[in-house]
């Protein structure tokens, strides 16, 4: 167990280092210059050169990379070229919004998805199963940014129930504590619904397949033979045995979830890491892109490790074999 965790962590560190290296060189080789954007079209050549020197962009790439690694190892991600503020604090302000959105949507889509899959796998009503399957296939097929747009169309413009973008209303400062909370929740609703619905389709499909494979298994027959209630057979016997493939697949889908979050944040102007990343890539704001890439790589790797750990938790056979 400890050994497995150690190799997992080492592999994770290698992935993060690889992502960081790749990002650094791709980003700096890309056309477009942050300094020219910063100084505007009226800037003279000498001014641009001077600014490049101040920012350390006049040195060779490997050298810049070495300096970046050395500083990042000490937790210093440099200063945003576009905003003139530390990249770390830009992201520090953004990450709680992303974490809130992503974590809540994981919890909702996993519990709902597994429940729907379990019901589908065990229902005798094939028409119901087919109908739900059609819905989950369709949800799975929808791009997040488009679903987000449709939900905005429906809930904001047609029904007028929910705000379309941002994390809080402009008047949030003047509201009472409960008013502010309601305001936050109303702003959270549409991005959360979008991410959850998208995740739900895939999760329900995985769970249905995994639960269905076990349908005729002898140990379920034995449990029924002992007179256990059907709900108990499903929840205590079928579900735990189906969890291993489900959790593994869900762990593997974390990077995709992060990608989805980037698009959903762009649609809803949700002030999270994804939005910071997209804006920084467009502005060639090197320090911010590097910091965001590092942090998202660490989060994804940590998520995968967590999924691996969860797999050993839900399956005693793996737990004992590894321990």
């Amino acid at each position: 167990m400890a050994r497995g965790l150690l190799t997992g962590v080492l592999r994770g560190v290698a992935v993060v280092l690889g992502v960081v290296t790749l990002t650094f060189f791709l980003l700096h080789l890309a056309p477009g210059d942050p300094v020219e954007r910063l100084l505007g079209p009226a800037a003279e050549a000498e001014q641009i050169d001077a600014a490049r020197k101040t920012l350390g962009l006049d040195q060779t790439l490997p050298r810049q990379f070495g300096q970046w690694i050395a500083r990042a190892a000490r937790g210093d991600f440099g200063t945003s070229i576009a905003h003139g503020r530390p990249a770390a604090s830009l992201l520090g302000e953004a990450w709680p919004a992303t974490a809130l959105l992503v974590l809540l949507s994981i919890v909702l889509s996993w519990t709902l998805g597994i429940a729907i899959g379990a019901l589908q796998a065990n229902t005798r009503r094939t028409a119901l199963d087919g109908l739900v399957s059609a819905v989950t296939v369709a949800l799975n097929a929808m791009p997040g940014y488009w679903l987000g747009m449709v939900l905005v169309m429906l809930f904001t413009y047609q029904l007028g129930w929910l705000p379309a973008f941002g994390a809080a209303g402009v008047d949030a400062e003047f509201l009472s504590a409960t008013g502010r909370l309601t305001d936050r929740l109303r702003h959270l609703a549409l991005p959360l619904l979008t991410l959850t619905l998208i995740g739900l389709g895939g999760t329900a499909r995985y769970s249905r397949a995994a639960m269905r494979e076990l349908r005729g298994a002898p140990f379920l027959l034995a449990a029924r033979g002992r007179g256990l209630a059907e709900s108990r057979v499903v929840v205590r016997h079928q579900l735990p045995n189906a969890l291993v493939p489900i959790v593994t697949l869900l762990g593997l889908s974390l990077p995709a979830l992060f990608s989805g979050a980037v698009f959903v944040e762009a649609i809803f102007a949700w002030p999270g890491v994804g939005q910071v990343l997209v804006q920084a890539v467009q502005a060639r704001d090197y320090p911010v892109v590097m910091a965001a890439a590092t942090i998202s790589a660490i989060l994804v790797v940590a998520g995968n490790l967590l999924a691996e750990f969860l797999v050993t938790m839900v399956d005693p056979r793996i737990r004992h074999a590894a321990g």
């Binding site: 592999r11 994770g12 290698a14 992935v15 690889g18 992502v19 790749l22 990002t23 791709l26 980003l27 080789l29 890309a30 056309p31 477009g32 296939v137 369709a138 799975n140 097929a141 929808m142 791009p143 940014y145 488009w146 747009m149 449709v150 905005v152 169309m153 413009y157 593997l252 990077p255 995709a256 992060f258 990608s259 980037v262 698009f263 762009a266 649609i267 990343l277 997209v278 890539v281 467009q282 890439a293 998202s296 790589a297 994804v300 790797v301 995968n304």
Partner: protein, 278 residues
């Protein structure tokens, strides 16, 4: 040579629906000029013809089945012409992934003690990176174009293919028939190309079909962010992006390409499910 499964997709309801869906959309894309009343980029007196609702005719007596966008361009014409771009980019992107993935997966399955862990390491590394980060970075390296999107999709999508090909080829190579064809004098390469790879293709095909849907979605996503196909050329992504700006007064502009996209991905998913279970 053993024929393990020549899967017959005609008897599976899912694949029938999927093939029907994709077939209709591909035919519409192929015959785009025949099924439209007006070109996809034609814009005339914009103020008179913009934001016409679906099923209406403009002042020039041109019928617009899906209405017009903010420049008075026909949404249906842009949809079927855009289908050409979106489908082609998706299929070609997946084809590039497939070629790279099969090559690396097969090489890893038959490689030496050094080559195999190296190839698998590179694959796992690629799998660990959020695809969108790679896409954003690669797509911003060169001026945006449809070709760039194909290359970028291909370069970021081969890892799951390689993983699957590796596993399938390893499993096939361990089967008795491999020993038999080796005894008949078949060389390593012949065994791999003629026997092991074809026999392990079914799940790879299922993955590839899913991948096409995925690639089309990502193409739309890149074009949506302005990094893919460039306006005024129509692709579903650029259409969704322009529909986003007019979501209040002309929701059909963004709805139509999104529904088309969802239908294509559903078609791919259904066929992939049927191939996997066959």
């Amino acid at each position: 040579m053993p024929r393990v499964s020549r899967f017959d997709l005609r008897h599976d309801l899912r694949s029938r629906i999927g093939i029907l869906l994709l077939g209709i959309i591909i035919l519409l894309a192929l015959f785009a000029p025949l099924v439209t009343t007006i070109g996809p980029d034609v814009q005339r007196d914009v103020v008179e013809t913009r934001f016409l609702a679906p099923l209406s005719s403009d002042v020039h007596q041109v019928f617009h089945p899906l209405g017009t966008d903010r420049l008075g361009r026909d949404v249906w014409a842009r949809l079927v012409h855009g289908a050409r771009v979106s489908l082609l980019v998706g299929v070609l992107g997946m084809a590039v992934s497939l070629v790279i993935g099969i090559a690396i997966g097969a090489a890893a399955a038959t490689g030496s003690k050094v080559a195999t862990p190296l190839l698998l390491g590179v694959t796992d590394f690629g799998l660990g990176i959020p695809r969108v980060v790679l896409l954003l970075l690669l797509a911003s390296l060169w001026p945006p174009s449809a070709t760039l999107v194909v290359v970028v999709l291909g370069l970021t999508g081969w890892m799951p293919v390689a993983r699957l090909v590796y596993a399938e080829t390893r499993a096939q190579l361990a089967r008795p028939f491999v020993e038999a064809v080796a005894a008949l004098g078949a060389g390593k390469l012949r065994i791999l190309v003629r026997h092991a790879l074809p026999n392990g293709m079914a799940p790879v095909l299922a993955l590839a079909t899913l991948g096409v849907g995925n690639a089309i979605t990502l193409e739309a996503g890149l074009s949506f962010l302005g990094l893919g196909v460039q306006p005024p050329a129509a692709s579903w992504g650029t259409m969704i992006a322009s529909g986003r700006d007019t979501v209040v007064n002309a929701p059909w502009v963004g709805l139509a390409p999104g529904i088309a996209l969802v239908l294509v991905v559903i078609g791919c998913t259904l066929i992939a499910d049927a191939v996997r279970d066959a």
